[in-house]
């Protein structure tokens, strides 16, 4: 494997080429995909759900093959589907509400520096589950992660997926989520994308039926020469379906970011609502911040809204904090963290929330 991945994170409707937002191409060469031998999850079939290691139970992913396209047709999903070296299938029984979050802790180290994970979560009717997937790496390992997580929420089910990516600066992180939500079901994705020198992430959710709901909450933090490339797409098919996208981020140094967010009201999605908000705080003059909030509509009886705003950090807040004895950096860190808080507090594991906070502090103070 040394081919270059091109044509990722396509927007559903193309626009001018000179803006460079229609798609993204990975400049780094793909590493050779070796085995991944760590154990990110003790296989435990807890109360109300079953976990399969898909390397051993390849057949159990057939459920997703039978579903109409809930994937993303791009070279990344292709790469993962053909070359995965880890991954889990989690199946939740009907009517079971699993209280404790399940943590899949993907660590990358010197001997396991390449991770290609292929994950599936199926929530049976009226069930509920929370899955936390964490990606981390060690300094100097040049870790490479590419992954695909497919979610399917059956009628009345709730899936909460929390992804926390705290990789080191020399890592590469390519991640895709593809979801489908049935009648009265709900899928919430909380995406804490903080690390890796190059991040390309996508999250697509098809709201298939009446009253289905999708929420995406995410944060990013750009510093040094980091690049962050995001593509969220919500397709409203069902009546009275609802979606929310909320992304907060901060950019400093020479970092760059592209945020693409699409809400697409398909014909038949009457009485649906879609709302998208993106706020970027800019901290240095060398940044590049691109936003592409698309609103596509083929129905009259819908409410769609998007808002994007970009600006410098609030000088008044900064001044106040500094007058209270905080250094400028600490004050900035506080302000950024407070803008992240509404999203980071959705992470259901306290130690992980603390780790995120510590990670942000380390990055902001450059220690």
């Amino acid at each position: 494997m040394s081919e270059i991945l091109n044509n990722l994170n396509n927007i559903p409707v193309r626009t001018w080429r000179w803006l460079g937002v229609n798609e993204t191409n990975i400049k780094d060469k793909m590493p050779e995909i070796k085995d991944y031998n760590l154990n990110p999850l003790i296989e435990n079939n807890g109360e109300g759900y079953k976990v399969f290691d898909i390397k051993k139970n390849n057949s159990s992913i057939r459920f997703f093959d039978n579903k109409r396209d809930i994937g993303i047709a791009d070279p990344l999903t292709d790469l993962v589907t053909k070359n995965f070296n880890s991954g889990y299938l989690i199946e939740v029984d009907e009517n079971k509400k699993v209280q404790e979050p399940i943590l899949i802790d993907y660590k990358m180290d010197t001997n396991n520096s390449v991770l290609v994970d292929n994950n599936f979560i199926i929530a049976g009717e009226n069930s509920e589950i929370t899955v936390v997937i964490k990606y981390s790496s060690n300094k100097g390992d040049e870790a490479f992660h590419s992954g695909l997580t497919k979610l399917y929420a059956k009628k009345g089910a709730v899936i909460n997926l929390v992804k926390v990516q705290l990789m080191e600066d020399d890592g590469i992180h390519l991640d895709a989520i593809a979801a489908a939500t049935e009648e009265e079901a709900e899928i919430n994705c909380v995406l804490i994308e903080l690390g890796a020198k190059s991040t390309v992430t996508s999250c697509k959710n098809d709201l298939l039926s009446k009253n289905s709901k999708a929420n995406i909450y995410s944060i990013y933090l750009g510093d040094k020469d980091r690049s962050i490339d995001i593509n969220y797409v919500i397709n409203h098919y069902g009546r009275k379906s609802e979606s929310n996208i909320k992304t907060n981020g901060a950019l400093m140094d020479k970092s760059s970011k592209i945020f693409r967010g699409t809400i697409d009201f398909k014909r038949g999605s009457k009485e649906s609502k879609g709302m998208e908000e993106e706020y970027a705080v800019l901290l240095s003059s060398g940044i590049r911040n691109r936003s592409v909030p698309l609103l596509l509509c083929a129905e009259d009886d819908v409410q769609g809204q998007h808002a994007a705003s970009t600006g410098k950090i609030d000088e008044n807040k900064l001044f106040y904090l500094m007058s209270r004895g905080f250094s400028e950096l600490e004050a900035k860190k506080l302000i950024i963290e407070s803008s992240f808080n509404p999203i980071t507090e959705k992470v259901p594991i306290e130690e992980l929330r603390e780790e995120i906070s510590e990670y942000i502090r380390r990055r902001m103070l450059n220690v």
């Binding site: 193309r14 626009t15 240095s284 003059s285 911040n289 609103l295 083929a298 129905e299 009259d300 009886d301």
Partner: protein, 468 residues
Amino acid sequence: MEKRKTYVDDLDRGLYDIRNEDRYSYKVSSGLTPEIVEAISREKNEPQWMRDFRLKSLDIYNKIKMPTWGPSLEELDMDNIVTYVKPDTSLKGSWEEVPEDIKNTFERLGIPQAERESLAGVGAQYDSEVVYHSIREELVQQGVIYTDMETAIRDYEDIVKEYFMKLVPPSDHKFVALHGAVWSGGSFVYVPEGVKVEIPLQSYFRLNSPGAGQFEHTLIIVEKGAYLHFIEGCSAPKYNVTNLHAGCVELFVKEDAYLRYSTIENWSKNMMNLNTKRAVVDKNGTIEWVSGSFGSKVSMLYPMSILRGEGARAEFTGVTFAAKGQILDTGAKVVHAAPYTSSNINSKSISKGGGEAVYRGAIKVAANAHHCKSTVSCESLMLDDISRSDTLPVLDILNDEVDIGHEAKIGRISEEAIYYLMTRGISEEEAKAMIVRGFVEPIAKELPLEYAVEMNNLIKLEMEGSIG
């Protein structure tokens, strides 16, 4: 409660569709070859540099690929388009001398009347050439030039040579390369330093010939501290063959100058409207675009403002009405290329009867453009569930000292508002009409009165009870 739908009629096009017999004194054959381009140049008796420029543009046209985004242009077959149709008359300075049928066309469009009542100068183009041009004497005495482009090349060659297609080079995109090769007609305006043209100038472009293309070039230079309001109107009768409009507008707004450029476009629904408009604004200058897009089968039009001087300002106010069979892909582009620049974009669209309205925009903030501000607001109204409305904005920001906001909304006429108006004794139809008129009001009020009236006529939103 059963959901009810409002039925809103298409725009009444009546007088726009009256066609004249296709008479011309010279017409090139359809298609696009170096021979045709040379024939146009020869017919116009142009200087060598312009002839060379045309041939170079044709070369570029042949090299550039079709756009990979936006509406399909498959229907457009350049082999069937006649690029140059010279009307059977020369340029006149008095309406009396303009041939009867052509004069009547412009009479019906209200041009001579508007000229008498509220304009300081008028240009009227019919097919490929300008047939009438006038300007008030007092403006001439102040050094204002307002004439057709052909005259400008003859009489003001140095100025034209300095500015012509420098802001929009033929290499910019395929249809502007085409424009460079076969352009004909259009207006040239020069407002000298400090001169304020208080009453608007207006050019009207009428395409009568079936299967033809119109490629007018408008070049406006507003010198330091000067002021101008320019109005552009365009229409054509409907034919069963595809017509093409690929005009080009270049606006140079110098230091402290002000230019308002208003357009009401009502091409017929067999028109491919692939127009390019661009302004460059120097220190503390202002460009204001007011744009109404109603006609054409396919439109791709995104006026661009390049704010290259400190404190330069751009404003865009646009309304798009896409009805059956129309794809109107319009919007605005702003490049903030200097500090303390500001822009404000306000776009409204209405889709009905299967029409598609697209807002496509871009705000680019260069690395040196600190302390710039930009606000973009897009609102779309869907009148039924067979139409489409898409909003595709892009923000590209390379400086942190900025204040940029974008918001967009999509929806339909609120039932509460209709209900409220009905409780006040207003009929349902009238209530709906009021709401739609209110929706486009911010644009209507930016237009000169007679144009606001024209727009209201255009949006003759007849309510015919409810269906579905």
